[in-house]
């Protein structure tokens, strides 16, 4: 048990330290020794949480989050075949993400999506230049409880509002929490477009989703 705890701790440490090669080598070794995929994923998720904490403390920055998401993705490639079928079906919380109509920028959306997936959410990426109707359809299809809208251009902000209005017009507004982000987004924009949460960075968006969403403003 003690040895197991030490290995678990090492997995989380290597993940938190973004030691890609050492972590993947250890994952492969553990799998060959019969360690369960679920326990490996759990420990790596603990490490990912610590990555988020380091980001919040300004020890890690966005480039580090990109590395963390990639390492986790590689871990899942190794572990995936060793996960029980019930685990592979994924978590219950569905999040629809997209960059709104008229805007094709995707960096923020992609990083948030990667971190949310790594954190156990089912992410439905609607892509870029997404029409309000498409967001509405995706929410209806998936039963999503959170919608994330991204925009980098001021000219895309009307589309952000139109999307949220579209959710309301289709009777979906109570079902979903809407979070918004992007270079031109701020608290004033959040209020103007009728969103629930403004995330100034990827980690705050993930934490919001981990809190289950809520009619609260940016933390």
């Amino acid at each position: 048990m003690r040895e197991g705890l030490e290995v678990d701790s090492k997995l989380a440490d290597l993940m938190a330290d973004l030691e890609e090669e050492k972590l993947l080598a250890l994952v492969k070794a553990l799998l060959s020794q019969g360690q369960t995929g679920l326990s490996i994923v759990e420990q790596c998720r603990d490490g990912l949480t610590r990555v988020g904490d380091r980001f919040a403390r300004k020890e890690y920055f966005l480039a580090d989050l990109v590395m963390a998401a990639e390492i986790f993705r590689e871990v899942m490639v190794e572990v995936g075949p060793h996960l029980p079928a019930s685990a592979a079906s994924g978590p219950q919380t569905v999040i629809v993400l997209g960059t709104v109509k008229g805007d094709v920028h995707d960096m923020g959306k992609n990083i948030v999506g990667s971190l949310l997936s790594a954190s156990g959410f089912r992410v439905v990426d609607a892509g870029v230049d997404v029409a309000p109707d498409t967001f509405v359809d995706k929410v209806k299809e998936t039963g999503a409880s959170i919608v994330g809208l991204s925009a980098l251009l001021t000219t895309a902000l009307p589309a952000m509002k139109a999307t949220i209005d579209g959710l309301a017009a289709n009777g979906l507004r109570r079902q979903v929490r809407v979070m918004v982000g992007g270079a031109v987004v701020n608290e004033r924009v959040r209020e103007n477009v009728g969103a629930d949460f403004y995330g100034p960075d990827a980690v705050s968006a993930v934490k919001y989703c981990q809190r289950g969403g809520g009619k609260s403003h940016a933390a």
Partner: protein, 372 residues
Amino acid sequence: MRPEERLEAAINLGAPDHVPVAPIIASVAARWAGISQREFLSDTDKGFAALDRAYELLGGCDANWNLYPYQTARALKVIGPLKVLLPGEGIPESGVFQYVETEAMKQDEYPLLIESFAEFNKLYLSRVHPGADGEAIRQTAQWRSELHLRDVERWRVRGVPSMVAAVLSVPFDLLCFMRSWEKFFLDLRRTPDMVIKAQEVIGEAIVRAARRAVTQTGVKRVFLGGTRCAATFVSPKMFDRFVFPTLRGMVEGLFKDGIVSLLHFDSDWTLHLPRLAELPRGSCILDLDGSTDIFEAKRVLRDRLCIMGDVPATLLASGTASEVEAYCKHLIDGVGKGGGFILSSGCDVPVDAKLENVRAMVDTAKRYGAYR
């Protein structure tokens, strides 16, 4: 005081007659002139006319922000740094052009780039701009240089200085564009030595291009764009290792020739400010977009580097004229004190900016920004 004198005084960290004002006018000029974005980018006579009109509507500024030659459809589609979508190509006709990032340079191609950046750049451009062969690249580069010179001259005869001789990027950003951000940020940990060496090679090429442009135009300032190396993306530790050595070499090399680097640094640079304070006094204009704490920039860089900026795009688009005026007064009081400040927009004035808001910015600089 003439606009060039006003600019020079601020760049040399002094106080001119009033705070110089130079909003970055690009796509918004088309809207104010009543032409489409597509026309603006494709028809250079209409483009120049629209920019002239914008200048008149604002009552005159202290510089021609001559980004236009670099943002024409022809230049973007043949020698632009990234694959680009023009208005009407999947984005609204009334919208602005947008870059699309792809992994056009593979991780195993660093040695190729290091061996010859000039040759590799041609290969890279042919990948992001299908049909752009060596001859098309050469001809378009020539055309753009001539357009740029024409633009500089037509403003010079009116007594208005052009802001820059050339629009270039810091090597870190260019490399990030080539690899795509999703791959490049991984390279920092996987192949750090290659990243550093590649930037040195690119930096040498950029400095050569800058010197050529300065000789050709007579404008002794060059635009160096940097976003991906901001503290939004990389830690101060990573900045120190990967970015600053090359950046400092470039800035110092150019400054020895009397060339000022206009560091157009978008996103948040607050945590990198102490390092920028090591650049030679008067060697740069630090041009901020509203994400960096500009008051902290003044505190750290006072008497070191001229600061420019940073009226945010969102304020110019959806604020009121009195809100813009209040914002500018606050900037002038805090950042303009003692000189060394140029009032500008935070990056481009957005295409949906209200004319009265940009006018308010210009008027505030001239009236409230007077140095007594």
